[in-house]
């Protein structure tokens, strides 16, 4: 290997060489004197870069710790159970029951997943098994674009199109809704989650070899049967991971949902009710949090809960993917 620490014999050799150089006729382009400098640079850079690599690892812990530290204040005063399951949220009176927000988050996420998973999987199967190359190449950038649109833009569009749509749908069903509802939040969220599930699913599908598909085709199966019984089956772990990743994305999404969901702190009883997911709680109240005692601590607890849930989903999904890669089939 080229890189090794200069030892005594090296140094002696270098010293001898230097003397030779001084005595010898000056040779142009001799790289040796700079070699030591290059090696030193390399070692310094290596140490520095290694230091930097510690940052991401620490970051997670620092974040968890920081949020927990701030949340301590309220945890000392109120038991965790009451905080998570209490239904009264009146910070000015010292009531911090977060059930409504947890319920709101859950409701919006479930609606979003129910809509997003079938559509995303069907799209991914189509792109992977049926679509001619031109459509596939055209679809890829479109999916990336969908993923790149900012949350506020989704929010604005949601207000423009989805909220009136839901209000109209509510009339059809005989109830009244302003349109700002769990359903609206779920629909917008579902669209935001499409690219995540599609992208990961496509990756997993592409790892199924063409030969395997050919083998099934040569048994007389049609393409749908191959997709259903071979590709989807072989990729089932990856699909679960894709869905879990989508779930984690849905959980943490803030702005778009906030703009269409109504922000009324009550446990939602129907799709057309307004809700108030956890991220929206954080976003809406940062202004007041310093003025009411324990408010900031409560909000940081909420942030901590959010972080833990999302982390759990993410880690689970990654582990599923890793295990799927390792077993590779069967």
């Amino acid at each position: 290997m080229i890189l090794r620490f200069p030892n005594r014999s090296d140094r002696a050799a270098k010293k001898a060489k230097r003397t030779d150089d001084v005595l010898a006729v000056h040779k142009t382009g001799d790289p040796d004197p700079s070699r030591k400098r290059r090696l030193v640079k390399d070692i310094v850079a290596r140490r520095f870069m290694f230091g930097l690599t510690l940052v991401p690892g620490f970051l997670v812990f620092v974040m968890l710790f920081g949020l927990f530290w701030k949340a301590r204040a309220i945890l000392a005063v109120k038991p965790l159970g009451r905080l998570l399951l209490g239904t009264t949220w009146k910070p000015s009176q010292g009531e911090f029951g977060m059930l409504a927000f947890l319920a709101g988050t859950l409701a919006v996420t479930v609606v979003a997943m129910v809509i997003a998973v079938p559509i995303s999987l069907l799209t991914a199967v189509y792109l992977s098994e049926y679509a001619p190359r031109r459509i596939r190449n055209a679809a890829r950038p479109m999916i990336d674009l969908l993923a790149g649109l900012p949350s506020v833009v989704y929010g604005v569009w949601g207000v423009l199109m989805i909220v009136p749509l839901v209000a109209w749908a509510a009339r059809l069903f005989g109830t009244y809704s302003s349109g700002y509802s769990i359903l609206a939040g779920g629909i917008v969220l579902a669209i935001m989650v499409f690219p995540t599930i599609i992208h990961v699913s496509l990756e997993v599908f592409s790892s199924v070899s063409k030969d395997l598909r050919d083998a099934a085709l040569s048994l007389g199966a049609n393409r749908w049967e191959v997709a259903k019984k071979v590709v989807l089956r072989k990729s089932r772990h990856g699909i679960v991971a894709a869905v879990v990743l989508g779930l984690s994305r849905a959980f943490g999404e803030t702005m778009a949902v906030l703009m269409v969901v109504g922000n009324i702190p009550r446990v939602p009883k129907s799709l057309f009710d307004a809700g108030y997911p956890l991220p929206a709680l954080l976003a809406n109240n940062y202004g007041e949090m310093m003025s009411v005692p324990l408010y900031d601590s409560a909000l940081m607890l909420a942030a901590l809960v959010l972080l833990l849930v999302v982390l759990a989903f993410n880690v689970a999904a990654r582990m599923i993917l890793v295990r799927a890669e390792r077993t590779a089939g069967g």
């Binding site: 030969d211 050919d214 085709l217 040569s218 048994l219 007389g220 089956r233 069967g330």
Partner: protein, 254 residues
């Protein structure tokens, strides 16, 4: 001199990829219920020829296929032909055994199930029958529900054979079916193919000349996308007429 009835008739087959001609004007008759071996140096279109027989060539990847291939009298590239029906007539054995991601039983039962056979007892009987035919029954009979991926490579290839037979084809296509196997499994699979030829037309592609000499009844020598020579095995191997065939047989070109 043996006289062969023909099962597959290829007329003027041309396969192009863009401006590159992979197969040039192939005209060939594959004899019925014999083992036909297609030999030739690698990259000369042997696999393409095989895949054109069961219509696994993908037109969307820019391949253009011209010509006629008649199986049992019908042109498999005809406009009204149902592709899955054609494919079922030909069982494919790939170079690397492709086991489906399911149990051993489900692998063999895959084709029968798809084609409408659902009754449990009949299925079990079918699976056992074809596993015996492939010479695998004794080894797996008490673990039919275990995943097929747990079998050894040689066993997997025999499973693929059983699975392909369960689709009740009339023709078995083999794309270098033993090149990924150890010598013992190779011999086993070869023997199975020889045993089966009394009921099935077998077309095998191989680059192992010795294997070809062992099992072939009819030989087709494919070089650079063209059929250089074809005929009964002893004729082609012992008295080749084309100089290129001679060069290949002596190992000059490979």
């Amino acid at each position: 001199m043996n006289e062969f009835r023909t099962h597959i008739n290829i007329r003027g087959l041309n396969v192009r990829h863009g401006s590159l001609r992979i197969l040039k004007d192939i005209t060939l008759d594959i004899p019925d219920r014999r083992i036909t071996v297609v030999v030739g140096p690698s990259g000369c279109g042997k696999t393409t020829l095989l895949k054109s027989l069961n219509r696994l060539l993908d037109p969307s990847e820019g391949l253009r296929i011209e010509g006629q291939i008649l199986v049992d009298g019908e042109d498999i590239y005809g406009p009204d032909v149902e592709v899955t029906h054609i494919r079922r007539k030909m069982g494919l054995l790939s170079q690397k055994p492709q086991v489906l991601p399911m149990s051993i039983f489900d692998n063999v039962a895959f084709a029968p199930r798809i084609h409408g056979l659902r009754e449990k007892r009949t299925l079990a009987r079918t699976v056992e029958h074809y596993l015996r035919l492939a010479g695998l029954w004794e080894e797996v009979k008490d673990r039919l529900a275990t995943p097929a991926s747990q079998l050894s490579v040689g066993q997997q290839q025999r499973l693929c054979l059983a699975r392909g037979l369960a689709a009740e084809p009339g023709i078995i296509l083999g794309d270098e079916p033993t090149s990924a196997l150890d010598p013992q499994s190779s011999k086993h699979v070869e023997q199975r193919l020889v045993d089966l030829k009394s009921d099935y037309t077998v077309v095998v592609v191989t680059h192992i000349l010795r294997q070809a000499k062992r099992i072939a009844d009819y030989v087709v020598f494919l070089y650079l996308g063209e059929v250089v020579e074809h005929g009964p095995a002893e004729k082609v191997f012992e008295r080749p007429r084309d100089s290129r065939t001679r060069a290949y047989l002596t190992g000059e070109i490979s």
